[in-house]
């Protein structure tokens, strides 16, 4: 294990020796060894001067960290409903069968593990999987057989067919943000010539609101942070794009990274931050190398570093911080906890991150798209921005369109665009429902397709999943309740336990054992979750159930057993052991249901 000692020594010298670096150190070890060896835990505990149990509690929290070796090839199938709609389940089973592995269990020869993970953000070209952090999209039975062969022959990933790893941007509609003329905006120069107060006023006048979905006014957030007295301020870009069905940040980071960093630098100039972070979800690990290069280019051209663009005292740099498979880290205070190298448990608020964020210092946390928009506004002005959208929702919104349509991908629309319009443009027909804003969002039935994408009508982070009339929406509900049960951080009772009770009740409906009573139970549990959970994950987790119970009651009622109460277990099946022991198989050994 000499190598491990040396690896950790070198790693901690380059990455850092403080507890905030813990998650980054663990990601690097996991990436190199395919697990976190017990000895690595002890070595890190010594180096960082923290208890080993603190490290283990982190390993057990993040889905991509493991105590057991995963092998040469570590595979995660994206398990979003859109992947499932296009056959991911049978492809997953096929790969497991071909490789002779049990789901989630490393193969005995240490070659491979095949597992499932939450939405990987490749919904427009799924089904997709991650293999050692790289994306393989457009999975087909043919591709699966090829993959199995390459694994058996132990072919290094570098020698796999290049088209496997192609991820398209699929930009289908451009507006203010994505118009080619708007690219390479020069917000830093605008800051130098007009000053930070004037630009903050411009941002205010633009009416820009956070693009993550919550819609807090960006200028207000930046002003509160700037005015919070502290010796350090921070800028954080939330690129933990975990909401099922959204992938716009993937495209922005792939094609518009410079604009994202420009917007962050603008924010730093306004609030007086020296350090910024891009919190990159672990699923987007494959984008990291290019992002690092973009950062280096910006340093080389003095758009990051000291005295940026010749402005004395304008010193700012950006670090990329990797996530490790935890949806909850998209919640801003959990994200900050994760940045500090801890488990992603949302904090009690207030105080809010704008005054007490990273290291308890004033911190702006904004969505990727928000930073791009802010940079554009600095250059083109509030009037330009306001010329699109509605009175209360200015500008445009990127939608990640996937599911049953001819042209999935990124659509940029002015706020105020109807669901109907989006469906027409992406070539969707015979649409039963749109799931807007992901698993935590709203299920929109056809009779509401005239409603508009806007904060005053349908606010959204941009996930737009389409289901045609042939789809069984209850499978969507099942996928989402499983997702929430898996992604609950476990901190508060209603989300941790309620979310799992909810998942089990949905399964009960699916197997045909549920009654009206169970539907009432689901409503009750859902309302308690909504009212009492600690954070936004817990309060929105019951949405898919409550929403579909309200708008699509038939998907439940057609599966109900015709009784007012049905136990959670199958009594006849449970008696099978007793029948075996007694050797009885007569009619009296079975419970007869009275219809």
């Amino acid at each position: 294990m000499k190598n491990l000692d040396r690896f950790i020594k070198v790693l901690s010298e380059t990455t850092g020796n403080t507890p905030d670096c813990l998650l980054q150190l663990l990601c690097a070890i996991q990436n190199h060894y395919s697990y976190i060896p017990a000895r690595a835990v002890n070595l890190l505990a010594e180096r960082l001067q923290i208890p080993p149990v603190q490290i283990l509690s982190l390993v057990d929290f993040y889905s991509f960290l493991h105590r057991q070796a995963r092998g040469d090839f570590d595979i995660y199938f994206s398990d979003n409903i859109t992947d499932r709609m296009f056959g991911s389940v049978s492809l997953f089973n096929s790969l497991c069968k071909n490789l002779g592995v049990e789901p989630g269990q490393p193969r005995a020869d240490g070659r491979v593990t095949v597992d499932l993970t939450s939405c990987t953000g490749i919904c427009d070209q799924g089904p997709a999987l991650l293999i050692n952090g790289l994306v393989i999209s457009r999975l087909s039975e043919k591709r699966i057989l090829k993959i199995a062969g390459l694994i058996e022959s132990r072919t290094p990933l570098a020698n796999w067919p290049k088209p496997f790893f192609r991820v398209e941007d699929n930009i289908q509609r451009r507006d203010k943000l994505l118009t080619p003329g708007a690219i390479n905006s020069n917000a830093i120069e605008a800051l130098a010539t007009r000053g930070r107060d004037a630009l903050l006023d411009e941002l205010d006048a633009s009416g820009l609101r956070g693009r993550g979905g919550a819609g807090f006014k960006t200028a207000t957030k930046w002003r509160l942070c700037r005015d919070a007295a502290a010796n350090e301020h921070y800028v954080v870009c939330n690129a933990d794009e975990g909401e099922p069905g959204t992938f716009k940040d993937r495209v922005l980071l792939n094609r518009y990274a410079d604009d994202v960093f420009e917007g962050m630098t603008l924010c730093a100039g306004i609030i007086g931050a020296k350090q910024g972070f891009l919190y990159l979800r672990g699923e987007y690990f494959y984008l990291r190398e290019a992002l690092e290069k973009t950062l280096q280019k910006r340093r080389n051209s003095n758009r990051l570093g000291n005295t940026i663009s010749g402005q004395p005292g304008f010193d700012f740099d950006i670090k990329i911080h990797l996530g490790a498979g935890a949806y909850i880290c998209g919640e801003e205070s959990a994200l900050i906890e994760s940045l500090e190298g801890k488990r992603g448990i949302p904090r009690n608020r207030p105080p809010f991150p704008v005054t007490h964020g990273y290291r308890n210092r004033p911190t702006v946390v904004n969505n990727v798209e928000t930073f791009v928009a802010a940079g554009r506004i600095a250059v083109f002005g509030a009037g330009w921005f306001r010329s699109a959208g509605t009175k209360t929702s200015s500008g445009t919104k990127l939608l990640s369109v996937s599911g049953d349509c001819a042209r999935p991908g990124i659509y940029e629309y002015p706020y105020g665009t109807s669901i109907h319009q989006v469906l027409a443009d992406c070539g969707a027909s015979d649409t039963q429902a749109v799931q807007l804003s992901g698993a935590a969002g709203a299920t929109i039935p056809a009779r509401e397709f005239d409603r508009k994408i806007a904060f005053e009508d349908l606010p959204t982070g941009g996930s737009f999943m389409i289901f045609n009339q042939q789809r069984d929406l209850l499978e969507m509900v099942q996928n989402f309740t499983r997702f929430f049960s898996h992604e609950s951080c476990g901190f508060c009772t209603p989300c941790r336990v309620g979310g799992t009770l909810m998942r089990d009740l949905v399964e009960k409906v699916l197997v045909g054992h549920a009654t009206r009573y169970d539907l009432q139970e689901m409503t009750n549990i859902g309302l308690v979750m909504r009212k009492t959970a600690h954070c936004g994950l817990g309060t929105t987790a019951p949405n898919p159930v409550l929403d579909t119970l309200d708008k699509f009651p038939d998907i439940y009622s057609k599966r109900l057993a015709n009784r007012s109460y049905e136990p959670a277990f199958d009594l006849n099946a449970s008696l099978e052991v007793a029948r075996c022991i007694t050797g009885r198989n007569d009619e009296g050994a079975y419970i007869r249901h009275e219809k």
């Binding site: 149990v53 929290f61 009690n348 951080c489 476990g490 009772t493 209603p494 009770l501 089990d504």
Partner: protein, 250 residues
């Protein structure tokens, strides 16, 4: 402490000082708001959600919410109590809480709060998780079946005892308490019987050995008077003493 400012709790005026939480002000005024993960000796945590009350129409956690004189707090309506009962039932089915066979019965805060909110059954389908017991420590035994993940032992061991014996590991329903020791066993940790962390458990997860039945069932903390009168289990930990009488609302 005195203050001119008050908020209303179920119609009563509760005085508070600037920065004080709804929970602390209520307890100081002798008004009981049920809670499990909160212990007034330590900073609030907000994880069990049992203390969620209705504040001007919004549901808020009483232990983490700073009091304000505009607040109208509902702690006793059927809606709030029923919601609280549901949260308790969730805790009961999550672990294995077999009160009649538990040494802590009669002095357990989970049980006492459940009685107080008139929880008559666990209601939901039990998860029946397979959980073990760690009896490796010479003086203390840990029952994973009864842990409700309130995090008190973790917080107190870190902040008060300066030992960090406990941590919560995992995620979601897989969350569990773990011990900081080379073998992962409690017996190899630095926990000592007189550590504060050994006496803050509101349920029967952390128990001193050889003293479980020194006080007979029927004469225990909550056997004759409700938790709203007696107060928290941890505050009465030195159970050989008769618990001091507190201001009560009945």
């Amino acid at each position: 402490m005195s203050s001119d400012k008050t908020f209303r709790l179920d119609g009563k005026e509760i005085p508070f000082v600037e920065g004080e939480t709804v929970m602390d002000a209520a307890l100081r005024a002798g008004e009981y708001i049920p809670h499990l993960c909160h212990n007034p000796e330590f900073p609030p945590h907000g994880s069990c959600r049992v203390c969620v009350v209705d504040v001007n129409g919004r549901h808020q956690c009483a232990c983490t919410l700073a009091a304000d004189d505009s607040m109208n707090v509902d702690n006793h309506s059927e809606a709030i109590v029923s919601q609280r009962r549901t949260l308790l039932q969730m805790l009961f089915v999550e672990g294995n809480h077999t009160c009649p066979g538990c040494e802590k019965s009669g002095a357990c805060q989970l049980q006492a709060v459940a009685y107080y909110t008139q929880m008559l059954s666990p209601h939901f389908t039990h998860f029946f998780p397979k959980r073990s017991i760690d009896a490796s420590h010479p003086d203390i035994v840990f029952y994973f079946n009864r842990c409700i993940l309130c995090g008190l032992c973790e917080r107190v061991s870190r902040e008060v005892d300066k030992k960090s014996v406990f941590a919560i590991s995992g995620r979601g329903m897989d969350s569990k308490l773990v011990f900081n020791s080379p073998s992962g066993k409690l017996g190899d940790s630095e926990l000592a019987l007189d550590d504060k962390a050994a006496s803050v458990c509101p349920v029967g997860a952390i128990l001193p050995k050889r003293s479980g039945y020194e006080i007979p069932i029927g004469e225990r903390l909550y056997d004759t008077r409700p938790i709203s009168v007696v107060g928290d289990a941890a505050a009465n930990f030195d159970a050989k003493k008769t618990p001091a009488s507190k201001n009560s609302d009945g």
